[in-house]
Symmetry: C2
Subunit: 197 residues, 2 copies
């Protein structure tokens, strides 16, 4: 019976409902009663699992982040010199397949919500670590700054590419363009670190 779900399963069920509803509805339009009703539990029991609506939302976004990071990785069979391309291709594919939830969870979010901002940071940092590992670059502060910026560029390309106004560009070509943009951005970094004249 639904009432007999174990704690972990119940949490997972509630998060799954949130992933579904919040992909198409902004957080301030989310009704906790609706979530509880869908799960067949009381509003009070929902708040037993998540202390506040904000905590529930953070748990849902965290789950979305895990899915993104699981999807956006090169397989273990990928040769070192293809890992960056493979990671970017997997990331772009994820955004194309899940555009609405991607926008809802990673470009939208919850405004000035420190929990959500922390999750965004974790995702961006994890992706940046993968790019640094794939390129063998040292993770100096300015290199990270540039690689994080490059991921923002890649995100924009992927989101635009999957949108209504997308120019007719093959995903493969988009991935190549994105991957090939990184060396130029890194080569320009000496401008950032050069002492002022």
């Amino acid at each position: 019976m639904a009432e007999r779900l174990r704690q972990d399963d119940r949490r997972r069920q509630l998060i799954g409902i949130g992933l579904e509803i919040l992909a198409t509805k902004p957080i301030h339009a989310l009704s906790v009663d609706e979530v509880a009703a869908r799960a067949g539990i009381s509003r009070g029991l929902l708040f037993h699992y998540f202390a506040t609506k904000q905590d529930y939302y953070a748990a849902v976004v965290r789950a979305a982040a895990r899915r993104l990071l699981t999807a956006a990785q090169a397989g273990p069979e990928v040769a070192p010199d293809r890992q960056l391309r493979s990671t970017v291709a997997a990331y772009v594919g994820f955004v194309v397949r899940h555009r609405e939830p991607y926008l809802a969870f990673f470009r939208g979010g919850a405004g000035a919500d420190p929990q959500i901002q922390a999750i965004y940071e974790e995702v961006r940092d994890a992706l940046t670590d993968r790019a640094l590992a794939a390129t063998g670059l040292p993770a100096s502060p300015v290199t990270r700054l540039a690689v994080r910026g490059w991921w923002s560029l890649v995100e924009s390309l992927a989101v635009d590419h999957s949108g209504e106004r997308a120019p007719a560009v093959a995903s493969e070509a988009l991935v190549s363009y994105a991957v090939d943009a990184l060396p130029g951005l890194l080569a320009g970094l000496d401008r950032l670190t050069a002492p002022a004249i």
Copy 2:
């Protein structure tokens, strides 16, 4: 008297209160009663100006977007070949001065909220138009794709630069790095448009 404010002034007042509160509080934690109380009006009167909480939020984000676009422009006195740099410098300066509200209104936002997503698109498009005008580039679909991506890179640099973990880089150097990144990104565009082999 506060009760006698004209309609436009009242709207402006309510939006001003929202700009202040929502810079530090996520939308789902915003109490409409708090906004009404601060304005010295009833909750009912607030809903006379904004049909729903979502509409109120959209009006606040739209006001933040207007402020950003007003701030992020080159002055009329700037020579054509310095306009892009001047625009980027003004944009980076805005993000540095208003980091928290910037994150709240433009990186956070309202998840799957079509009104907010439309405002984001308008801002990104307006900035892209400015960059295209400053560089004299034709606004082809792939050029727009690249320039929009470049603005995402600039945003990431500006946000990281103003954050706690920022590497020690002068704003001036950051602006130069951002401006100088654009030609390389545009030069790579032939990869996107070249016919597949």
